[in-house]
């Protein structure tokens, strides 16, 4: 039907009593998401839109079946909250929070990699399987159900491309925002794999951006393993260079990271790379025929 989330997914909201957590809980409920519990330490016994709040994930887990958690917590404690979710064996953890220190992200990723959990984010808009479940902050009205999977490193572009697809009567199976930070809990390949084995996904739209080598790595996977078409756009071809910061970054990336590198790797792996988002519907339609 979809990847990661569907209408049966039981969701926990960590940081549910904050201003943003509360507002987004409402939007998620409106989108049909099955939110079963919330956590804010010190707030046990209260309710948010009828959802019971607990002091700890452990207690929420003891009182409810939980498949996924979405976090609206301050950046300074994001590390501990993600680890709390993972230690309590929540399978899918989505960290919306922006500006988490990258050393904290590396630590949480290390915990996650040793667990059975999957971490989406940080700085992700979340995940939506339109009409079934929304985990995160994606504006619901951009999305329609269908059979195109969308993976985007940029949050706002995941909205834009989905809206453009929807506007052209191309629905989405699942849309996943990978998160925009230096380090992401989950890489493009991990999500490509899920789409590759999802029966309902017929084609994947991949929105990359300059920096890192995720797209180059994904190209390799697509070439060797992917059994459905992939359409890609890489943002940042005309973006300004960052100030030069020592040699270390350049040496690590070893020539990867530029828009040119990503586009050429993807193209030679059989991916149709477009120059502008608005070209996507036409390409998708052609490929789905």
């Amino acid at each position: 039907m979809s990847i990661l989330v569907n209408k049966n997914t039981k969701v926990l909201v960590q940081g549910i009593t904050g201003k943003i957590g509360r507002a987004q809980t409402k939007y998620m409920l409106d989108a049909g998401t099955n939110i079963v519990a919330g956590v804010t330490p010190g707030k046990e016994g209260t309710k948010v839109y009828g959802i019971p709040v607990y002091d700890t994930v452990k207690e929420a887990k003891e009182n409810h079946d939980i498949d996924a958690s979405v976090l609206f917590v301050p950046a300074s404690i994001a590390r501990e909250c993600v680890i709390e979710a993972a230690k309590n064996k929540i399978k899918l953890i989505t960290l919306i929070t922006e500006h988490t220190p990258v050393h904290d992200v590396m630590e949480m990723k290390s915990y996650i990699d040793k667990s059975d959990s999957l971490l989406i984010g940080p700085t992700t808009p979340g995940i939506i399987s339109p009409g079934e479940c929304k985990i995160g902050i994606l504006p619901t009205n951009m999305f329609t159900p269908g059979s195109v999977g969308v993976i985007s490193r940029s949050g706002t572009l995941s909205y834009e491309v989905s809206a453009i697809l929807s506007d052209n009567n191309i629905g989405q199976s699942t849309v996943v925002g990978m998160g925009a930070d230096l380090v992401a809990g989950t890489n493009l390949i991990d999500i490509l794999k899920l789409f590759n084995s999802d029966k309902n996904t017929k084609l994947v739209v991949l929105i990359g951006e300059v920096g890192g080598s995720q797209e180059e790595d994904a190209a390799e996977y697509i070439k060797n393993e992917m059994n459905k078409p992939v359409v890609a756009y890489i943002a940042g071809g005309s973006a300004p260079d960052g100030k030069r910061m020592g040699h270390a970054g350049a040496i690590v990336e070893g020539g990867k990271g530029s828009a040119e590198s990503k586009i050429s790797h993807l193209t030679s792996s059989g991916v149709k790379v477009v120059s502008f988002l608005f070209e996507i519907p036409e390409v998708v339609k052609k490929l789905l025929q």
Partner: protein, 382 residues
């Protein structure tokens, strides 16, 4: 936040990494005093955050007192890629037997710190990396596992050092890694680590870049960063917004980096339009923030038009719209402003913007908004 060389070296020194005798000065007069302590020959080093200063003439060796004043003044006046130096570092000249490289940064895909060392350090390290990548040893670090002294020794042994040099170099790498972790660095780099003719191991240059998101854990550096900002930059910084000045004529306010880059790609497609700035608000939109964004953009000379491209996911775009309206009213703005603003509370947002004279594009495609602005600038009706 990148630190100046002299700031990074202070941190090295307090963490027991050897650095050359040195003194930071801001005038040739103080440079003379510094030399009395250090002794000739000295190296005069421009303190700037821009790379490639050596090749740009920002590092000079001075052997005699007669050349000192002129060299210091020249380097203080020297612009490197448009930036002047924030003072010069007067430093003892080392007797170099060998130069090594050590850099620590983050492998984005693995999400792990990577320590790189090479026995061929110096300004050509990137050439070494490209031509002969095997000459750079790389070690990936699991952030949840402690790294022990013996592991650094095992690591540095691969460069074929032995005896006391092995211990000294391993210790520098270990300390640099501790600094990388303790100061929340994105980059910690020493190029070169100098082995002197006396077999001393001394760090001749220093690059530290601290993660801005972690400055709450480093109040001194946070203060120093805030001190170097004006009020508006402070506000931006607090909200997590990013602003970069560019050369073009179209002001741009976007609610995400990817959206911003994609919008720039589209603007650049028109001959008579190019971005005057890159501005992304992140998820912290408020009325005041967007008001500040507007003020920042209208200060740019020759600005021809403004494009807003906002999504209401986590952002209250109706609040942002109020900021736009306030700026228009306050400055009695007449230049064309086109907005695409979609998502939660979009109707409310549109109403506020249209009331202020903003052209609202209600399509999903950013292309349509860019097209609309282009048409207005061409004098066409929209």
């Amino acid at each position: 936040m990148r630190l100046y060389e002299y700031e990074a070296k202070k941190i090295f020194y307090s963490n027991e990494i050897k650095i050359p005798k040195s003194k930071m000065v801001y005038s040739s007069k103080d440079a003379k005093k510094a030399v009395q302590e250090i002794g000739f020959p000295v190296v005069v080093k421009s303190q700037t955050l821009i790379g490639g200063r050596g090749k740009a003439g920002g590092i000079k060796i001075v052997d005699e007192i007669k050349d000192l004043e002129k060299t210091v003044e020249e380097i203080l006046q020297l612009e490197i890629k448009g930036y002047k130096a924030n003072g010069v570092l007067i430093e003892e000249k080392l007797n170099i037997k060998q130069e090594l490289y050590c850099g620590i940064t983050i492998d984005r895909t693995l999400g792990k710190a990577v320590i790189m060392i090479s026995s061929e350090g110096g300004i050509d390290i990137e050439t070494v990396a490209n031509k002969d990548p095997d000459k750079i040893m790389k070690f990936m670090i699991d952030p949840t596992e402690e790294k022990f002294s013996y592991e650094f020794i095992e690591f540095v042994k691969k460069l074929d050092f032995s005896g006391k040099l092995l211990l000294k170099i391993s210790n520098v790498v270990k300390k640099l890694f501790e600094i990388f972790n303790n100061y929340d660095c994105k980059i910690a780099e020493i190029n070169p680590i100098v082995i002197t003719d006396q077999n001393d191991v001394i760090c001749a240059d220093a690059v530290l870049e601290i993660d801005d998101s972690a400055l709450f854990r480093h109040p001194n550096f946070k203060k120093r960063k805030l001190n170097s900002m004006n009020e508006r930059e402070k506000h931006f910084n607090k909200k997590g917004a990013t602003y970069v000045r560019l050369d073009g004529n179209i002001g741009l306010i976007c609610s995400g980096a990817g959206l911003g880059m994609a919008t720039m790609d589209l603007i650049n497609n028109y001959e008579n339009m190019s971005p005057a700035n890159f501005l992304e608000t992140g998820g912290g939109i408020t009325e005041d923030l967007v008001f500040d964004c507007m003020e920042l953009i209208i200060e740019i000379p020759d600005i021809k038009g403004i494009l807003l491209n906002l999504y209401g996911g986590i952002n209250p775009i109706h609040e942002g719209a109020k900021g736009v309206a306030r700026a228009i009213k306050k400055h009695n703005l007449k230049i064309p402003i086109v907005a695409k603003a979609l998502g939660n509370r979009q109707e409310e947002t549109w109403k506020i913007l249209e009331k202020s004279g903003v052209v609202v594009v209600k399509n999903f495609e950013t292309r349509k908004a860019v097209e609309t602005l282009a048409k207005i600038l061409e004098g066409e009706s929209v």
